[in-house]
């Protein structure tokens, strides 16, 4: 899954650690999310969406080949 987490974080001038603290996760987890090594759980995705005041689908998009017809 692709996401705009890094872009949104940098727009606000936050470090990975600052974002991690706001979401109550580790900095390592933020790094894994931003580099696409980890897809968040639904509760974490909702927390991210709430923090950036955007719908989940505006932040996370499935890879084009993973969308079923």
């Amino acid at each position: 899954m692709k996401n705009r987490l890094k872009e949104l974080r940098e727009d606000r001038g936050w470090t990975q650690g600052a974002l991690a603290d706001q979401l109550d996760v580790s900095r390592q987890t933020i790094n894994a999310l931003e580099t696409g090594r980890y897809d968040p759980s639904l509760p974490l995705a909702f927390r991210i969406a709430r923090l950036f005041a955007q719908p989940i689908e505006a932040i996370f998009q499935p890879e084009s080949d993973s969308i079923s017809p």
């Binding site: 974080r9 940098e10 650690g17």
Partner: protein, 137 residues
């Protein structure tokens, strides 16, 4: 590309707080284990005739239980991604320990009894955990 906002390998305030909480839980258990183990080795007389030697032999389980409690509390404090990494490592370590245990057992049946079989199983499991955790990072 890494931006200036990516704080390298630096841990966040939450990471540090979780690490401190883990150390507060973990180290008293390890310290207690060391003290009890020393007492057992000094006064336990494990290869003597006293029936109390069985009690002495079981004593280290008490502080070891404290260490297990610390690990369980740590697992409940960390987030889903960290828990997944930790449990992957533990799963590999467990599998390696089980295979080592079976292998040592079969070698024993075949007539090659290894003198420190328990330590071989322990070492294999810990090594499997460490390698899997390093690869998963």
């Amino acid at each position: 590309m890494t931006s200036e906002l990516d704080s390298g390998g630096a841990r966040s305030a939450g990471d540090k707080a979780r690490a401190r909480a883990y150390h507060r839980d973990f180290w008293p258990g390890i310290l207690g284990y060391g003290i009890v183990l020393t007492a057992v080795l000094l006064w336990g007389d494990l290869d003597g005739p006293s029936p109390w030697r069985y009690v002495w032999a079981l004593l280290p389980v008490i502080p070891a239980g404290w260490v297990v409690r610390a690990v369980v509390r740590h697992v409940s404090r960390i987030d889903d991604y960290q828990r997944m990494l930790l449990l992957k490592g533990l799963a590999v370590g467990f599998a390696v320990a089980m295979i080592a245990s079976l292998t040592v057992g079969f070698l024993g049946i075949a007539g090659l009894a290894l003198p420190a079989a328990g330590w071989i199983v322990y070492g294999a499991g810990m090594l499997g955990w460490a390698v899997a955790a390093a690869v998963a990072q």
